[in-house]
Symmetry: C2
Subunit: 351 residues, 2 copies
C-alpha cells in the first residue's frame, strides 16, 4: 500500500559523499530544481579535504559521515561507493530516512526498487520502501530510451557497445586522463591508477574486473539491471569500453522487439517519450554535447539488417547528470513531491 | 586460368600517394619485408610539399602522378584517394602494371577482387586480373578475425560497433585531433575540418555522409565489403564511431554462426588462424597497443546471451598497417612472390 505524502514538508536532506563528482552535482541539482529543503547536511569521510560545499549562495560545512549523522534526517542521497552505502544506509533507514543510493550495493536486492523515474517512478511509494537504488549510469540512459519502445512493442533482445567517459570513474580519473593526455602530447606516458591501463589516446575494453565468463563488472550490471528496471526478461549482450572523453557516455544499440515497429512509429514514440530528446534527419548528439543536458539524446535511428524486428540507434547522455545525480534527485522528487496515484503503478510490458 | 609467376624478377614499383600517411607506411613495409624492387617510383600530386621520400637509406625523388608515370612499371601500390585511383589506374593497367588500390574506387566492382591475403589471396592470380582492391581498414581486421570462424561454422550475422582512430582520416586529421586536444586542455575549442565535428575529448557516431537509410559511408563499406571478402551472404549491422585516439581501430563484435562453436573450439581456431593473435585468460589488446603490430589482435572472446550460436569478441589492429599499407604489400607479395597453386583457390564457406 503506497504511503501518504509528503513525508515532510521541508525535509532535512543529507548528501552522503557530498564532496565527490556526483555528490557536488547532486547539490547543484537540488538547488537548480528548487527541491524543498529544511536543513542540508553534506556528509563525507573524515579524510576528505573539502570542508565546506557551496549551496544556495552559502558555504555549508561538511560533517563526518557516520551512523549518528542521520538523526532527524528525512532524505539521504548517497553517492560514496558501495562499501560506504552498506556501512551507513541501514542506520539511515533505522533513523526513518528515505534513502536513494547511487552505488551498486543494493541494486539487485529483490526488496529494493531500482528506479528510473521515467520508467518506474511509482515504485518509490511501495509499502515499507525506505531505500531506492539508482541504476548504473550506462544502464539509466539505455533504460530511458528503451522503456517507451518496450511498452509499445516488447523488447526481447538488446546488443549494446558503450563509449564511456573518464568522468564515470570519478574526478580523480578525469584528472588522470588529462595528465596522461598532456604527457602523451609530449610523447611521454604515465602510469594508470584509476583505469586498468593508460587511457590517453586509447580505448580500453575493460570497466571493472572480468568474471569467469569473461564479462566485466560494468557489463554484468547492464545485463542484470536493465531487465529489473523494465520488469521483463531481456537478453543483453554488451561490451563496455572506456574512451578518452571527459564527459558523457555514448551507446551503440541494436534492439529486437516482439512486434514490428516501423521507423516512423519508433520515431513518434521516442519523440514523445519522457526524458528523451530525439535528433532526426541526419542530426545526432555526441556524448560531449550532452554535458549539462537533462535529456537522454537518441539519434541515428535506423533499421536493423540482422534482426527482423530490429532497430538501431545511438544514445548519449551526461553520465554524471541523468546517469547519476539528476536521476537520484528525480527519485527523491517522485517520493517527496509526487503523490502516489493508481495510474502511476508500473505499466506491464506491451504484448 | 591463373597466370604464371613471377611477373618480373625485380619489378619496377610505383607508390601512388607516396607522401601520405599510408603511402609512407607502404614504403616502410616494402623495405622492412625486403620486397624485391628494381626501381622505386614514388608518385604524388604536384601540389604536395615533400619532394623526396626515404627508402633503403636514400632520399628518393617524388615524381608527379600522371598517366605517363606508369610506363615500364610492373606494380602500382595506390593510396591517394578514390578520385586519383579512378583517374590514373586505368592508364597503369594499360601500361601492363598490376595495381593494388587502397581507395574505395573499385572495391565493389564485380570484376575486381577484394583481397585480404589471409582470406582469399588466390584471387590475385585470377585470369586477366591486373587490379586488386584493398578493403576498408575497419573491414580488413574484421575479415581476418571472422574468416577462420566462417570456414569452420559459417557466419550468418554480425553486429559490430567500431572505435576508430583519427589516423584513419589521414595525417592532417591526426594533427587536427592533437591541436583540438591541446586547445581543449586550455578550455578552448577549435573548428572541425577533417572531422564532421570537433573530435577532441568526444566520440563522433559519424564517419562519412549518411545515406537515405541513415547509414554512413563507412558503415555501408563494411556491410558490402565483408560479404564480398568472405564470399557469402552475411547480414551486418554496424555503427562506426570516431574516437579521440591516434592510432589503431577497435571493434566490439557479436557473430552468429550456422553451426554451434564452443568457446574452446573458437579459441583453438583463432589461435591457429593466419594473421591473428589471440589474447586469452582476461588479457586483451587496446587499439593503441596494436600500433606497429602486423597481427589482428582478438581478445575478450565470450559467449553471446542474445544469439544461440553466438560469440562475442573484441578485435583491434593497426589501421594504417594491417588496415592499409601492410595488407596492400601482402597483396603484392601474393601476386609477385607466391606461385598460383590449386590449393590456394578460395575455400567455400563451411557448411
Amino acid at each position: 500500500m503506497p504511503d501518504d505524502l509528503p513525508d515532510a514538508p521541508s525535509p532535512t536532506v543529507a548528501v552522503l559523499g557530498a564532496t565527490g563528482l556526483v555528490g557536488r552535482k547532486i547539490l547543484e541539482q537540488l538547488e537548480l530544481r528548487s527541491f524543498p529543503i529544511g536543513e542540508l547536511k553534506p556528509l563525507a569521510s573524515a579524510r576528505g579535504g573539502t570542508r565546506t560545499v557551496p549551496f544556495r549562495g552559502e558555504q555549508v560545512p561538511v560533517q563526518e559521515a557516520c551512523a549518528r549523522a542521520f538523526e532527524g534526517v528525512d532524505l539521504v542521497l548517497a553517492s560514496a561507493g558501495a562499501a560506504v552505502s552498506r556501512a551507513l544506509l541501514p542506520a539511515a533507514q533505522e533513523a526513518g530516512a528515505f534513502c536513494v543510493d547511487n552505488s551498486s550495493a543494493y541494486r539487485m536486492d529483490p526488496e529494493v526498487p531500482l528506479v528510473v523515474p521515467e520508467v518506474n517512478a511509482a515504485l518509490v511509494h511501495g509499502a515499507g520502501v525506505l531505500l531506492a537504488a539508482n541504476p548504473n549510469c550506462s544502464t539509466i540512459q539505455l533504460a530511458v530510451a528503451l522503456a517507451p519502445l518496450h511498452r509499445a512493442a516488447g523488447v526481447k533482445r538488446v546488443v549494446v557497445s558503450t563509449y564511456q567517459s573518464a568522468s564515470g570513474a570519478g574526478g580523480a580519473a578525469k584528472r588522470e586522463l588529462l595528465e596522461g593526455t598532456a604527457a602523451g602530447m609530449l610523447g611521454d606516458t604515465t602510469e594508470a591508477e584509476r583505469f586498468p591501463r593508460p587511457l590517453a589516446f586509447d580505448a580500453l575494453p575493460q570497466i571493472g574486473d572480468f568474471d569467469e565468463e569473461g564479462i566485466s563488472v560494468e557489463e554484468r550490471k547492464m545485463m542484470q539491471e536493465l531487465p529489473k528496471i523494465l520488469g521483463s526478461e531481456i537478453a543483453v549482450d554488451v561490451c563496455c569500453v572506456r574512451v578518452p572523453t571527459l564527459s558523457g557516455h555514448g551507446e551503440s544499440v541494436l534492439v529486437e522487439t516482439e512486434r514490428p515497429l516501423s521507423l516512423q512509429e519508433a520515431a513518434d514514440i521516442l519523440r514523445d517519450a519522457p526524458g528523451v530528446e530525439l535528433a532526426e534527419d541526419g542530426d545526432y548528439r555526441t556524448p560531449g554535447e550532452c554535458e549539462d543536458r537533462d535529456e537522454v539524446c537518441v539519434s541515428r535511428l535506423r533499421r536493423s539488417h540482422t534482426f527482423e524486428n530490429g532497430l538501431q540507434f545511438w544514445v548519449a547522455a551526461d553520465n554524471i547528470l541523468k546517469g547519476a545525480a539528476l536521476n537520484a534527485v528525480q527519485v527523491a522528487e517522485a517520493r517527496f513531491l509526487t503523490p502516489a496515484a493508481p495510474e502511476q503503478e508500473p505499466q506491464p510490458a506491451g504484448r
